[in-house]
Amino acid sequence: MTARDAAGDRGQPVSGGTVGRDAAGRAEPLIHVEDLWHTYMKGTPFAQTALRGVTVEIRAGEVVGIIGHTGSGKSTLMQYLNGLLRPARGRVRVAGHDLARPDVDIAAVRRFVGVVFQDPEDQVFEPLVGDDVAYGPRQLGCAPAELRERVRWGMDAVGLPFEAFKDRYTYTLSGGELRKTALAGVLAMRPQVLVLDEPTSGLDPGARRDLRERLQALRDRDGLTLVLVSHDMDEIARLSDRVYVLHAGAVVASGPPRDVFARADALAPYGLMPPHATQVCDRLRARGLAVRADALTIEEAGDAIAALLRGNR
């Protein structure tokens, strides 16, 4: 970094909240991906291009959904958000850090952005729940009191009461509890941005709703910025403020979920379907019934249909 950059107005990545402003006076996005390309196994006969000029912005306090079919490049893109991959072509800025620079403080980037992989229960390795959640903060060199506080906060935030669970053996936990343990381990790093890959896959409907409510609370109560990577439209529609649709390594649509999902025919070529509620309303409209087109959740669709029935009576 040049001295000007380092002392400049890009904001303190770890403390957060002091993000600079761009020319138009808007707050600079926390994460800014610009014209990003990625090729796997580059320089080998198995080379394969996974990202083709992707541009994505993630702003403070937003919930951003990234949707796409298997192989659309969404998991690859996700790995750029905390510097697991470094851009060879294109730019990725995370809280003022330019990931292309070899001298970038990658540890700071990974403290700022927490990433939870798909099926994170596999990454739990300590015998005791509390120790596993403490793994990350311990690497940071936290003092015992702060360590305990972080672990307590992380576990409480995911719904594993600290006192009851900290000394449990990880192998006695259920699948859902293990996933919460892994999630708590990332939260204990106190990231500003939380990226989750298919967070609810394989969970039963009850656990799914519980996790969704906890994610919402993390945003509303703790001010976390969330990025959800998923192919579950219902999930994304419920939680996101803005979505990006990825197909074959390129962003093919973006905007608020209501706008994106309202154009079902535009999504079809990418192998994606709008949320079920939106589809039901679409079909009703196709039969000439006047229901709203932009219902995203079952509740909204229910209200719309109820209103229609009341009107007919």
Binding site: Q79, D122, Q139, M189
Partner: protein, 279 residues
């Protein structure tokens, strides 16, 4: 720069379809010829001999039409090990290994003799040769071919109660699991790095590295055991009962070219064993 792409560096266990003459060889002939070459590598204790072997290995890589840079890539992860090995040999062999050899270098208690120097060079050369041969072998042989080949070669030993089919299956599964485990290790490294784990801090600080590897190794073992169990269930579910009375989709047929490859391997081994290399 990429700290996590492990699979890129693992050439063993991958198949690279270039359609070369090595790819078309009967796997049995290829196995026997490869064993001859490995034998030649193992039993050649001279510098000139190893130079010949290196040339032969490069020729094999060329015959397989495999990019040399790709075949050599498997060497990268082994470099620290090779360096440690060489340093150990230089430091500790001293006069114990061939006391008649002249001393080349002496500093304190460290004594390096000509024989030790030669040994260091030859160990490194052998490693490279073995890696090239095995890489080309696996890059040019599909796992199904390999299984069939091993099974067919071991069949005569069945009278001695050698479980030919089972052994072949064990080898296949072991090789098949290499890329799977590499991918899983990569995923775990990324996951642990994402929650603050510090990995690959330094290639050379071995003890620190091993301790840092625990968060990867523990889940990796669990994963391997779980995958193993899943495989058992999947095989049971498809009524797998072993080799008895089992027929195969591909039937191996060997032609003159295959016999020529075996003969070439045998000749090469004999030549390396008998040649009077000066050093």
């Amino acid at each position: 720069m990429n700290e996590f792409e492990l699979l890129r560096n693992i050439t063993i266990g991958q198949y690279l379809p270039t359609g070369s003459c090595l790819h078309r060889l009967d796997p049995r002939a290829k196995i026997v010829a490869a064993i001859f070459v490995v034998g030649a590598v193992t039993f050649t204790p001279s510098l000139v001999g190893n130079a010949c072997l290196l040339v032969a290995c490069l020729a094999i890589v060329w015959l397989g039409r495999i990019p040399l840079s790709y075949a050599l890539r498997g060497l990268l992860p082994a470099v620290p090990l090779l360096v440690v090995l060489a340093v150990m040999q230089l430091l500790f062999f001293g006069r114990n290994y061939d006391p008649t050899s002249p001393v080349v270098f002496r500093w304190g208690w460290i004594v390096v003799t000509a024989a030790v120097l030669k040994l260091v060079v030859i160990s490194a050369a052998r490693f490279v040769e073995l890696l090239l041969v095995t890489s080309v072998f696996t890059l040019s042989t599909k796992t199904t071919e390999l299984t069939l080949g091993i099974e067919s070669l071991l069949r005569p030993l069945r009278r001695l109660r050698v479980p030919a089919h089972e052994l072949a299956l064990v080898v296949t599964i072991a090789i098949r699991f290499v890329p799977t485990l590499a991918l899983e290790a990569e995923r775990l490294m990324k996951a642990q790095a994402s929650r603050g784990g510090r990995l690959g801090a330094s290639r050379w600080r071995l003890v620190t590295r091993v301790r840092q590897l625990l968060p990867i190794l523990v889940p990796l073992f669990t994963f391997a055991l779980r995958r193993g169990e899943e495989l058992i269930v999947a095989m049971e579910a498809r009524a797998y009962t072993g080799g008895e009375g089992r027929t195969s989709y591909t039937v191996l047929r060997s032609g003159p070219g295959d016999w020529a490859a075996v003969a070439a391997g045998a000749l090469f081994l004999a030549a390396m064993l008998l040649a009077p290399f000066p050093v």
